[in-house]
Subunit: 300 residues, 2 copies
C-alpha cells in the first residue's frame, strides 16, 4: 500500500498537506461505551464526552506511588537507560526528559500499564479492548522545566503513525504534585470535538527533533486564540498519585516551570484494537517501534 | 565618597561580595505607618507586614483602564518610543517588552503615578512622603512570554542603585487579566523578612543585559528551594484594573506564557523620601536616570 492511495481512500483527518490551517468538526464519537459496566458511570462518561478529559483524584496508593517514584529516579540515573534510543535527553543539559516504551521494558511500569483500574476505564471510553500505542515517563525538572506548545496528539499519531481515527486516549499519572505554578497540563475543554488540520509537511525522521522541540503539527496563533476564546483553558492541578484521562484530540499544552517543584508523570496511550495503526498518512516511513507500537495485544 | 568607604560605613545589606549565598534576617521594619489615616486599615497593613504584599481588587475604573490600554498600545507601536534607550525590546523578536520612565515622559502614566489612591497607600506603608524611584510599563506577550527568575528587587536596587534600606514598595497595576496560566506574578509570602545576599559581582553596565535576561543578583537553587518549602508560593490572579502593592524585598518570579493571553502592567516603585538613593553599593557607576531616578520630589 503506498501513501498516495492511502490518502485518497482512507484519510478522514488530512493534515500537513496545505499552506494554511483549517478547522473541521470531528467525524467520530468520543465515547464508545455508554452504559458499560466498570468504574466509570454514565455521568463520568458524559464529562469525558463534553470536556475531553476526566480527572481521577487518587489512582495510586501511597505505596505504589513510592515504588513508581523510586523506579523513575533509578531510570534517570541508569547509564544503560541513558544511552538507549528510547531515552530522550534535554537538548541543553543532557538530563533525562522522557523514557519511552516503559510498558515493555520495565516491570514496574508494565504492571501499572496493565492495571485493570486503568484498562477497564479505557475500555469503557473506547468501547472495545485496548492496546498500548505508546508509553513513557516524563520528567519536567524544577527551575528549568521547558514549556510545551499547544497540539493535538491525534494529529501527530494520525500523520506520523497512521492511526486512522481519534479512538484513543491518554492517561497521565502524576508522580509529583501538580500546582498551577509548576507547568501543569492545560487543556482547552471541548476542543477535542474539532480537528485542526495543520499547515506544512512532516520532515523525515521528524520525531528525533519533535521529542525535544516541536516543529510540525503546530496550529497557528489565530486558530489557537479562537480556540482559547471559545473553549477556555483548564489548568489541571492535583496531588501526586492522581491521574487524568484525556482524549487523543484534546488541544493541550504546558507552560515552563521556574519554581523548585519538578513535575513527573507516567504517560500511557491506549488505542482501540479496532483502530490499530496502519501506514502513516504523512511521511513515507513510520516512527520507530518504541514510539509507535505495532504490538496490538490487548492490555490488562 | 568612594565605594569602599560606603560599604564599610553604611552597607547593612551586603551582596555580591561572596562566592556563596547567605541568608540573614531583615534589619528594618516592613510597615512604618501603623495607625495612619488613609485607605489602608491596620488589618490591611498587618497583611502587608505578614505576607509582603496586598492586593487591590479594583484600582482603575473601566474608563481609566481603557485609557491606559490605548496608551500602552500606542507606545508599543510608536517608532520614536521604540528607539529611546528607556524602551527595552525582546532579544529575539525586537518587540517592545518594557518602557521605562513613563511617570516623567507620558502624561497618562504620570497622572496614574501621582494618583492619591496609590500614593496615600504607599505613604501609609512607608510612613513618610514617597518619591518614584522607577516606573515602567511591561508587555508580556501571549504565546512567547518569557519567564522571569526569582529575585528580590531590593537586592538590585541596593547593589546597583544605592538604595540604603528596603523602605520601598512596588505597585503593579494590571492592564490585562491575570490567570494562573498566563505567567502571572508569583510571590513567596513572608520571604520579604529575610535577606538573600547573592554570590558573585555585578558586571559593568549590567542593566543593559539584566533588563532582557537575568544574570547578577540571582539566588542559588538550594536557597530558593528552602524558601519555597518554608514560605510557599502565592499565584497572583486577578482582573484587569486591579493592582498589587508588594514590598521591595519580596522573593518573586513569573513563569513563561504559551497561552494566547498577553499580560501587561504599569509598574511603579515608590521609595521613602528618607531612604533616597546614594552611591551604589556594588558597581562603581550608578544605573541611568530612567531606571534609577534622582528626582526625590514627593509624589502625589
Amino acid at each position: 500500500m503506498n501513501t498516495a492511495i492511502h490518502t485518497e481512500t482512507k484519510d478522514h483527518y488530512p493534515t500537513r498537506n496545505n499552506d494554511h490551517t483549517t478547522v473541521t468538526k470531528r467525524r467520530d464519537p468520543v465515547v464508545y461505551g455508554w452504559d458499560s459496566e466498570g468504574p466509570l458511570s454514565n455521568s463520568d462518561l458524559q464529562t469525558f464526552d463534553d470536556t475531553g478529559y476526566l480527572s481521577i483524584e487518587q489512582l495510586l496508593s501511597p505505596e505504589e506511588l513510592q515504588e513508581c517514584r523510586e523506579e523513575l529516579e533509578r531510570l534517570a540515573q541508569d547509564p544503560a537507560s541513558k544511552n538507549d534510543e528510547a531515552t530522550i535527553t534535554e537538548a541543553e543539559s543532557n538530563e533525562v526528559r522522557s523514557v519511552f516504551n516503559v510498558h515493555r521494558t520495565n516491570e514496574v511500569f508494565k504492571k501499572i500499564a496493565n492495571d485493570p483500574r486503568i484498562v477497564r476505564r479505557l475500555e469503557q471510553i473506547l468501547g472495545s479492548e485496548v492496546y498500548i500505542h505508546q508509553s513513557r515517563i516524563n520528567y519536567k525538572p524544577g527551575f528549568v522545566g521547558k514549556d510545551f506548545w499547544w497540539h493535538s496528539d491525534f494529529e501527530s499519531w494520525h500523520a506520523e503513525d497512521g492511526m486512522p481515527a481519534p479512538r484513543a486516549a491518554s492517561v497521565s499519572i502524576s508522580l509529583t504534585d501538580n500546582y498551577s505554578f509548576n507547568g501543569p497540563l492545560m487543556i482547552m475543554p471541548g476542543s477535542h470535538k474539532e480537528y485542526i488540520s495543520c499547515a506544512g509537511g512532516t520532515p523525515e525522521e521528524n520525531y528525533k527533533q519533535s521529542l525535544v522541540m516541536q516543529g510540525a503539527g503546530v496550529p497557528d496563533k489565530d486558530t489557537l486564540t479562537d480556540f482559547a476564546d471559545r473553549h477556555g483553558i483548564d489548568v489541571l492541578e492535583g496531588p501526586a498519585g492522581g491521574a487524568v484521562i484525556f482524549d487523543s484530540n484534546c488541544m493541550h499544552a504546558s507552560n515552563g516551570n521556574v519554581t523548585p517543584y519538578a513535575r513527573s508523570n507516567i504517560f500511557l496511550v491506549y488505542n482501540s484494537v479496532d483502530n490499530a495503526v496502519e501506514e502513516p498518512f504523512g511521511p513515507p516511513k513510520p516512527r520507530p517501534e518504541f514510539i509507535r507500537s505495532t504490538d496490538f495485544t490487548p492490555a490488562g
